[in-house]
């Protein structure tokens, strides 16, 4: 909290001192709206919700897989789903099972789940994508506890390597959340990482979110985003690429990647070798794009001190990712001096946490 005994200084810009003193005078306990604020990380593979828990500074997190599977309708199946509280709805002669339960069903039926999100955006190739994402949001946050409860949801940056935009995706989600009584707004995923992890640095530095569908990058100075972009390479891209060169199924690749991959160790087999190659490719692409983006922009403030890079997201979780990133960074003549590369405290929740901080700020 704020050290209330310290006066800022004797003589200064009156607006700044006033701003500081307003913070000093602000009540410690925030309003109900702020306390009920919600942060949502809508990623390619998961949706993570963050909200304030009971107790000082405690936060609660909930997540659901962004996945679904269609099974033929039968009353028996429907009862099983109801009894096990598995999210589903009936569509014509099918039952659409979505969220975490979809994976259970996919395993039972020995098939793959389908995705309502692709490359960080609503999947245009799936007719039910919007309904499923609405269903997941509805199940986790049925309605706003108070009218205009602030809610921030993450959106990706505009992809550097694909001709697409995020306008439709953002508008659909915002409209749905507003209809539920929230005062919603979007936050760039990289910026959310900065809000979550760079408080000590006054929100100055790079936030990099390496997710399933894409990697999002934001460079912020004093909480002002200067560069935001994304690349459409992420965990799914690595899975696809490795599966195709090793002739394995994606599920097995994903299992090895999530459970035993160590990027610091020598590969034990062909799959691990391929995983390391494609991880290197992803990291190099990411750093090269960061470098090019900085060189192409004219609005970077002159930063006196070196700035940090925070890595987050499920794709950044394997052991050695940070070290590989550091090594690749040394290979290029990066235009900004970097103080450190570090992993987010909780890579899977950092985006939702940052979105929650942004929502509380809005409240």
């Amino acid at each position: 909290m704020v050290d209330k005994n310290k006066k800022p200084f004797k003589k200064d810009n009156p607006e700044m001192v006033e701003a500081f003193e307003q913070i000093l005078k602000a009540p410690e306990a925030n309003s109900e709206l702020t306390q009920n604020a919600i942060g949502v990380d809508i990623g390619t593979s998961k949706t993570v919700f963050a909200m304030n828990g009971k107790g000082n500074g405690h936060k609660d997190y909930f997540s659901q897989l962004n996945a679904f599977i269609a099974v033929p309708y039968s009353r028996f199946t429907e009862n099983i789903l109801k009894q096990n509280k598995i999210h589903h709805y009936k569509l014509a002669d099918s039952l659409i099972v979505y969220g975490d339960g979809a994976e259970v069903f996919a395993n039972m039926l020995n098939t793959e789940t389908r995705r309502p999100m692709r490359n960080g955006l609503l999947n245009a190739k799936e007719a039910n994508a919007i309904e499923i994402m609405k269903g997941i949001l509805n199940d986790m946050i049925p309605s706003a506890p108070f009218p205009n409860t602030p809610l921030c949801f993450s959106i990706p940056g505009v992809p550097k390597d694909a001709a697409t935009d995020i306008i439709y995706h953002e508008a659909i989600l915002k409209r749905h959340l507003d209809e539920k009584g929230f005062k919603s707004r979007s936050i760039n995923e990289g910026m959310a990482i900065i809000f979550s992890e760079l408080e000590r640095e006054n929100f100055t530095g790079f936030g990099v979110s390496c997710g399933g569908g894409m990697c999002n990058v934001c460079l912020s100075y004093l909480s002002i985003p200067h560069i935001t972009f994304s690349i459409t390479k992420g965990g799914d891209h690595i899975d696809d690429a490795v599966a195709s060169v090793t002739n394995e199924v994606n599920t097995r690749i994903r299992d090895i990647k999530e459970n035993q991959l160590d990027l610091l160790a020598n590969p034990d087999n062909e799959i691990e070798d391929a995983l390391q190659i494609y991880y290197d490719d992803l990291i190099r692409t990411l750093i090269r794009t960061m470098k090019e983006s900085i060189e192409q922009t004219s609005k970077i403030p002159k930063v006196d001190a070196p700035i940090p890079i925070v890595l987050s997201g499920g794709t950044a979780k394997p052991n050695g990712f940070k070290e590989r990133f550091e090594n690749c960074l040394k290979e290029v003549n990066f235009p900004l001096e970097i103080s450190e590369v570090r992993l987010a405290k909780d890579p899977l929740r950092a985006t939702a946490n940052g979105a929650l901080i942004a929502a509380m700020f809005e409240g």
Binding site: M1, V2, D3, K6, K7, P8, F9, K10, K11, D12, N13, P14, E15, M16, E18, A19, F20, Q22, I23, A26, N30, T34, G53, K54, G55, G57, H58, K59, I155, G157, V158, I166, E170, R185, S186, I187, N188, M191, F195, E199, R200, N202, F203, Y221, L222, S223, I224, P225, H226, T228, K299, P301, K302, D304, K345, I357, A358, M360, F361
Partner: protein, 455 residues
């Protein structure tokens, strides 16, 4: 693309540097964002040309260092103070009083790489009421060692005596508030004094099913503990829970009541405690003291209590759990100034107010390691329910406790008889007099108490 701020509104470098210095003093991310937003939005370029900057009294980095030094000095001073006090044979540390004001200052912890609260050093308590039954007390009434918080995160608290409390599952109940009844009161006080003071600690056993404590059962043990915690939270049953691995969880806020004590009686030399849900903190050990005796199945004592339980050969509560319990008890005693006489197992306070019988609940009714906890052996001391209110016990109790009847019961009965003789009253009549006094207090308590009486 949503952006919170417009980049083109960025002020010049000198102004930005000043903002940075001020922002460093705020550690709450939302507050810091608000400040940055306001400071940047309010920026006035014309006025900024005339700014004269003056150095901050102390920057954040220097303040961290300052705090770490202060903490180091405090620890050093605490150690020296304790040594001096010990060497003089009187253990009362006064150094802690310099730190009586809890600081909320946040500092950066170099080891944890996380923001934590600085140590909230609990002062040693002022001397409180002397505890009843002093003749059996062989341990100091008040703790003689400081315990203070050294780290706090969103998930846990860590204390100087190795105690770690997991705090993320803490829930609220109803604020602690109970009637303070003076010990001398034979009738209900006319002007009841309400208080929220923590007067003591009650130890409980969950008496839940237990898995064998073996490596291959780890997942089952953990899962059972998780379910038990969920149940306790639903029922708001205990303030603290210590699982089979000795992990300590705070489940109900300390400044709130928990429904752990049921109908119960305890006294110290100043007060009678009838509402221990509010007055005492409940610590529950996951474990079992009793098992089913299938040969006697179905027999009850008339109150619905079945007699088909028998004490186990050895309590399932492990040394690891007891060590955690001791650390927790030490810290609570320092924090709230709890005398050792007010730290008791549930069995010794639990009563049936209608039959006027002791031992309604029997958790921890044998083998509780009082010595290890630095407490006098309460099994051997007088039972306040008997001495103050003439409670007794029946065959049901003796049958279950066969061979393990607390010596304190005989002592209490002797005491009761002696006092009856002094008043030249038959014991039966004197007991009835005390029973009636209890009934008056109990009725008043019931009327006043908005909380759940039965746990």
């Amino acid at each position: 693309m949503a952006e919170l701020f417009e980049p083109e509104k960025l002020p010049p470098k000198s102004y930005r540097l000043r903002i940075e210095k001020l922002a460093e003093q705020i550690t709450d991310p939302v507050q810091k964002l608000k400040f940055l937003n306001k400071a940047l939005a309010d920026y006035n370029r014309e006025k900024d040309q005339q700014i004269e900057f003056v150095e901050l009294p102390m920057g954040n980095g220097r303040r961290r260092t300052f705090f770490m030094v202060i903490l180091g000095l405090a620890a050093l001073a605490g150690g020296v103070g304790a040594f001096v006090a010990f060497s003089q044979g009187k253990i009362k540390l006064t150094i802690a009083r310099h730190f009586q004001t809890r600081t909320e200052q946040m500092v950066y912890h170099p080891m944890a790489d996380t923001t934590i609260e600085t140590a909230a050093i609990e002062p040693l308590p002022e001397k409180g009421p002397e505890v009843h039954q002093p003749e059996t007390a062989v341990f100091p009434e008040y703790p003689d060692t400081l315990v203070w918080m050294i780290e706090k995160t969103n998930e846990s608290e860590y204390y100087s005596n190795r105690l770690r409390i997991f705090t993320s599952q803490t829930i609220e109940n109803i604020p602690r508030n109970y009637q303070q009844i003076p010990l001398a009161a034979t009738d209900p006080p006319q002007t009841p004094g309400m208080t929220d003071k923590v007067a003591g600690i009650l130890f409980h056993a969950s008496e839940s099913d237990i898995y064998a404590f073996q490596p291959e059962m780890t997942q089952s043990i953990k899962e059972y503990s998780r379910l038990l915690i969920r149940y306790i939270r639903e029922k708001k049953a205990y303030h603290y829970f210590i699982d089979r691995f000795g992990q300590v969880y705070r489940l109900v806020r300390e400044d709130h009541a928990a429904f752990h004590a049921g109908n119960s009686i305890w006294t110290d030399t100043e007060s009678i405690y009838l509402d221990l849900n509010h007055a005492f903190i409940g610590i529950c050990f996951e474990g079992k003291d009793f098992k089913n005796n299938h040969r006697r199945k179905g027999r009850t004592n008339g109150n619905g209590n079945s007699t088909h339980i028998v004490p186990m050969d050895k309590s399932s509560i492990s040394e690891t759990q007891l060590r955690s319990g001791k650390e927790l008890t030490d810290w609570l005693r320092v924090k709230y100034g709890i005398p050792q006489g007010n730290c008791v197992p549930h069995c010794l306070v639990s009563v049936n107010p209608y039959d006027l019988l002791i031992g309604h609940h029997l958790d921890l009714s044998y083998d509780f390691p009082f010595d290890m906890f630095g407490l006098s052996n309460k099994y051997q001391e007088r039972i306040p329910a008997i001495t103050e209110f003439g409670f007794s016990y029946n065959n049901y109790f003796t049958e279950i406790m066969k061979g393990r009847i607390w010596p304190g019961i005989a002592l209490s009965e002797e005491d009761l008889k002696k006092r009856a003789d002094e008043r030249k009253m038959p014991l039966k009549e004197y007991r009835r007099l005390l029973n009636n006094q209890f009934k008056k207090l109990f009725e008043q308590q019931k009327g006043r108490n908005h909380t759940k009486i039965e746990s």
